[in-house]
């Protein structure tokens, strides 16, 4: 079954049955620290904690986490370099503290990314989306997002299979053909998505759909111990960053 590595990890992680609210608090706190605290030692601590928790108690596969953490690096490196290069009438140069500024940017970003990745690899989207209701997001929007989550895997699979079928018949053997085939591919996926929505309308009408896609929320109880440890840990990171020069 094709899927996305992060999503697979979320469904089988050891922290799957923890309350999404608990995990949001922890990861939200970590991201906040990564952003607000100075890169040293704040971001470094956040990064270590996030990676440590992911590979340790949450039992996220190292390969998945490692790959995903590297994905934003291209943007971050280019962005950081662009920020610290200085242009003037005389040409290019380096801004003062270029190295430390760039390192700082890198640190904030990698740490923040790791913190969010901890959330993403331990909490499936279908657990997170209902949590949005608590942020006053309307039910209709949450339901639409849930359908997006269900359908995107179906369409991704179609994308891969159709492209493979096109490649087998040499549809991508030259640049021109590849473009034409890609256009056809996009059209095929769009047609599939419309078709699927239309068929689901009838299928769900038969199951009594009238005003919405209401489902029974899953019971994922919160853990006082988890919350307490998280808050303590976050406080520790803040304290360390404030105290260490």
């Amino acid at each position: 079954m094709t899927g996305l590595a992060v999503d697979d990890a979320a469904w089988s992680s050891a922290w799957r049955r923890r309350s999404p609210g608990d995990k949001l608090l922890l990861c939200g706190g970590l991201v906040g620290c990564a952003l607000v605290l100075p890169a040293w030692p704040g971001s470094v601590l956040v990064g270590l904690v996030a990676v440590g928790l992911a590979l340790g108690p949450a039992r996220v596969p190292a390969r998945t986490f490692g790959r995903a953490v590297r994905l934003p690096l291209a943007f971050v490196t280019v962005g950081a370099l662009t920020a610290v290069v200085s242009v003037s009438g005389d040409g290019l140069g380096w801004a003062p503290d270029a190295a430390s500024r760039a390192a700082s940017l890198l640190g904030h970003s990698v740490a923040g990314g790791a913190a969010v990745l901890l959330l993403a690899t331990t909490t499936p989207m279908s657990d997170l989306l209902p949590a949005l209701r608590r942020l006053r997001v309307p039910a209709a929007v949450v339901e639409v997002a849930s359908v997006v989550y269900r359908l995107l895997f179906v369409l991704l699979q179609s994308l891969r299979t159709i492209r493979e079928a096109q490649t087998a018949r040499m549809g991508h053997s030259s640049l021109r053909r590849s473009y034409r085939s890609t256009g056809v591919l996009a059209a095929a996926v769009l047609t599939r998505s419309w078709d699927r929505a239309r068929r689901m309308q009838e299928g769900l009408a038969g199951r009594g759909m009238e005003t919405g896609l209401r489902v029974l929320p899953e019971v994922l109880p919160s853990s006082r111990a988890f919350l307490a440890t998280s808050v303590t840990g976050l406080a520790g990171i803040v304290a360390a960053s404030v105290l260490v020069p």
């Binding site: 849930s146 269900r150 689901m200």
Partner: protein
Amino acid sequence: MSHRHLTAEALVAGYERGRPVLDGASLTVPAGRRLAVLGANGSGKTTLLRCLSGALRPAAGTVALDGVPLEHSRRGLRAHRQEVQLVLQDPDDQLFSASVAQDVSFGPLNLGLPEDDVRARVAEALALLAVDSLAARPTHQLSFGERKRVAIAGAVAMRPCVLLLDEPTAGLDPSAVAETLAALARLQEHDSTVVMSTHDVDLALRWADEVAVVVDRAVVQGEPQDVLGDDGLLVRARLERPWTLTVGARLRDLGLLTGPSLPRDAAGLLAALPEHPGVLS
């Protein structure tokens, strides 16, 4: 749940390029029993099931539950759906949630049941279809056969009196077919009527109590061995003769089979053969 009689009378429905797929089709669904609806692809099996479930409004003719005609009003359809549920051939047409348990809860919630009842029904449906172990997995990770059973669970959770299944075994390998049939058997301990459409004549012969063949835009209904032994009908319907009837008939001509009627499956055939060579009638 008490038995309810579902009938269709003189249906005209399913227009394709100007002509109706069904024209004068009538059917009586035997309460509490197993009915197989047979026909070639495109013959109108799905159209018939959709008319029976209320999903499709026929151009003429009536569908009735216990003699009361189905009204295609909001109220009428809602009442009908509580008794008659249709599981479509493609499970992805009915599975909208990434979570298996949440998807199955959709139907009971739409019936307006309180949360505890819904939870109980979901657990019961998942167990009946033997998909309770999948409740923690997302829908998109399940195999085709597993998704088919989750879709059936979604319908079963509404506790309909009549369960209609459109080609429930299409695309399934032999072990998955066996699991599905076992699940349907468990269901029928709870007194429901099961109707399945298929083009697999051997399956129909061994599973069904009654058989209805969709042919020439209408329906011919009867006992499995009668209907499926009628060669003229099978040719018109573009179906094959079940092998047990063919081989059984020949063995009976050779005087080798005991028993009043021809066997309906391999086990029955082997059982009706003599134990040792040399024993002939």
